[in-house]
Symmetry: C2
Subunit: 494 residues, 2 copies
């Protein structure tokens, strides 16, 4: 599988001189990777009708390339693929990414079967066909045939910005959705470790990728978009094993009858009973998301925060309404707005008396510091809540507007949260300068920040769901220890 | 009620020279309104300890002001309010906005009762106490005591940007949430007609505002954040009448037991049974939203698009996965992914044959034009779908990345949709340049654009729910006619 992400040499079969053509965009992307210093692989354009493409010598066929070819990317009509794959087999190519459509999705399962046969005889693996392929921000590999920017009516427009480096792998069955989701991730500043669009999945599937990602140091969480599995048992086996060490979040579409019908005509996926999926996901530790934003919101939480030992949540805010929303979402998700321990209530009572929190601040969870909040109150109260044995995790919603707040509460909350092994997620509402600063800075510090109280609670729920799985498998403490040492590495010491 | 939004003169009781103090920020906001040319009102700072505030002459008491005072904004300690209100009554003030807290929310219902008594004797209306007051981007009135920008550690930061002019009134029971939501709206570029934070609602409540907004030409939709009503019957009566002519969307928090407990300690609202609320809302035509983003997403749809005559939806996309998501959400919301009429299917079949849509494009709803989509295909297919009698509304999800798309599809889709009296909502996914351009341009053209398929479908559902209400009251056609003529005015001729 390594050759799909970090090959020593890449041939682009169907390389093109014509801007906009997939075979042109791919060569251009790869050259961009070389230029940035990331991509180490040799690049060999293959096209019998060209001498040179984008300054690179072009070869009539794979067999004419002098050096070894580890990875071949195919962007030629489906009918021409089998013969080109024969060449690849002969050349000793180890991995094939077949971009081209025109296979089983268009009723040509026969073509797909032939291609699989050729590859399996030669010990070659295939990603695709009918896919966007792979984008790896660590190795500079990018086989997506949609360019970052494109000229539209005389103006260069960013059509598919690529996200930067991060620790979340993203695997999408759908190409268009996968690309759109990358565009979203790039804009939100959430990095990825790898993107794979599997397309028809004639060979490499989610299970194969999980196996590979388990040992990939850059992949700490896997996010999946899937409409159905070809081999459910294989996926479950791989996911069960994977989830013991790294979390998986899956957004499974086609969950209703109408959606399932649409999925059938889209990827030919038999969506199957949704309850069966839910049960299977739960059994193998896969956290289920119900939408794109939720998928990545949860992945971010699982990347940055430890799993929760239980469902008891404390809510800390300076905006009562936001506290109500968070409480609603907790109950709706099966989390428990914790009854704080007597000791904690006494501590808050004392803080009130000493003027360390407002005299009129409700503190019986939600703890609402009101508009009289200060940076110190937030950090002190967070500490009190995290010290309460009853509390399994905290949703902090420090709306940034109150007059006495500076930006110090952000680093303060992060610092306190890093001293505990319980999850903390935060929310600030707004799209102005301060709100985006606050959320961005929290993310930088490893405290996942969300745009609404509901999204924050949903993400804390993911940490609870994953924690429950780890406990059921008896590996909670082991995971937690590894997580904490990783967090120190990624986000610094407390 | 007019004096609360467009007074001829405003006194700020408790005006302050000290930057950051509510009484300073409010005077500064009002001066800003004058400077921009919007606010016509005379401004009278009142403070016995100052001669001048921000260049304005300061008066020792309301009674010392020479001219008339229509609106008085109070930012002095609660204990001092009754006596200041006596002055206001004597002065003939017509409206009082009491910013100050320290009333019923802190156990001082006695103070609140006295204030109400003084006002009612004098025929004065009160907004508040314990509130942020009012922001009206048309008249330049702004009594919010949080400034747009504030210095934080030596750097000016935008802490509460105000949204621009639009047609959605926003009424929030919670001040902190109200402010945060304005920050969100400003960033999303969604304008408002008026913002009112009601606080303790000792006098003016949602029902009073509805009555006023019904005749306000700038208010075409009302969005509410509420934790509970003081007088449910009064609200229902006002809402039932209002909804016949203009839509209301309400985000009611405290819908679970945990949320209701939190609401009780926040605004003292008895949240009541959530089912009762749902039934009451439905009965008086109030569309219910379950979160901040949904509140404004739905308000935008109701502002820009006609109500739907029925639940039958057509989905048009170039990304199969997005089509599956939309279909899922339709079914989850009780909308019906329509079985297209025979005539429509024949038209699509013919378009396939003529190469006007891809030969392999699924068209049995969702219509998926795939990555081979062109601008023309999108507009032609939209027209075909809108012409189908079976179809009550369309969710169009033209993901922008496919190579043959320019930006023309945006104006094309808008142009087609304006020729029909059925609702069309759109989605493009991504946060890059093209995605944000596409959504922004759709919004400009009066076709509400959303960031995910689910949000688009939820917003179409709002149009269905409102349409159902209008039909049940026998005023659908009347509303539709008025809507269409308004749309021509706001978003131009088809």
């Amino acid at each position: 599988m390594r050759v799909f992400f970090d090959p020593e040499s890449i041939a682009v079969v169907g390389a093109s001189r014509k801007p906009g053509k997939p075979g042109h965009v791919i060569v251009k992307n790869l050259l961009e990777g070389r230029r940035s210093g990331l991509l180490k692989a040799e690049i060999y354009p293959v096209n019998p009708k060209a001498e040179e493409i984008l300054g690179l010598r072009c070869y009539p066929s794979l067999l004419d390339v002098e050096g070894d070819v580890e990875l071949a990317v195919f962007a030629i009509p489906a009918e021409a693929i089998p013969s080109a794959m024969e060449d690849a087999a002969e050349k000793g190519v180890k991995g094939a990414i077949i971009i081209s459509g025109g296979f089983s999705e268009m009723g040509r399962s026969d073509l797909e079967e032939r291609v699989v046969e050729i590859a399996s005889k030669a010990g070659m693996r295939i990603v695709g066909p009918n896919c966007m392929g792979i984008y790896d921000p660590y190795t500079g590999l990018d086989t997506m045939f949609i360019p970052v920017s494109r000229e539209i009516r005389g103006r260069s427009m960013q059509v598919l910005p690529r996200p930067g480096r991060g620790y979340i792998a993203f695997v999408s069955q759908s190409g268009a959705f996968g690309g759109a989701a990358l565009d979203y991730l790039a804009g939100k500043g959430l990095g990825i470790s790898k993107f794979v669009n599997l397309g028809n999945r004639c060979d490499v599937d989610e299970a194969d990728l999980l196996e590979y990602f388990l040992e990939d140091p850059n992949t700490l969480v896997v996010s999946l978009y899937v409409e159905g599995f070809k081999d459910g048992r294989k996926f479950m086996k791989a996911a069960s094993e994977f989830s013991l060490r790294k979390p998986i979040v899956a957004f499974k579409a086609g969950r209703t009858e109408a959606g399932a019908r649409a999925a059938l005509s889209h990827t030919g996926s038999l969506a199957g009973s949704d309850r069966v999926y839910s049960a299977a996901f739960k059994q193998c530790g896969v956290v289920r998301a119900y939408g794109m934003k939720e998928l990545f919101n949860m992945a971010k939480a699982l990347l940055m925060q430890p799993p929760a030992r239980g469902p008891n949540v404390a809510i800390l805010t300076d905006g009562g309404g936001a506290g109500v929303m968070a409480a609603d979402e907790c109950e709706a998700r099966g989390l428990n707005v914790a009854e704080l321990s007597e000791g904690t209530l006494r501590r808050f009572e004392e803080m009130r008396r000493k003027g360390r929190i407002p005299a009129f601040a409700p503190y019986r969870n939600p703890v609402d510091l009101t508009g009289s909040v200060t940076d110190e109150m937030l950090t002190e109260c967070l500490e009190v809540l995290l010290e309460d044995e009853v509390v399994d995790g905290v949703v902090a919603i420090p709306l940034h507007a109150p007059p006495a707040l500076t930006d110090r509460f952000v680093d303060g909350i992060a610092e306190v949260s890093h001293r505990f092994d319980k999850p903390v997620v935060v929310c600030d509402i707004g799209e102005g300068e301060m709100a985006t600063y606050v959320r961005g800075r929290f993310d930088e510090l490893g405290v996942p920040a969300y745009e609404t109280p509901e999204e924050a609670v949903a993400s804390l729920w993911a940490l609870y769901a994953y924690g429950r799985f780890l406990k059921s498998r008896g590996v909670f403490d082991e995971y937690l220890e590894e997580f904490l040492s990783r967090r120190r590495r990624l986000f610094g010491e407390a």
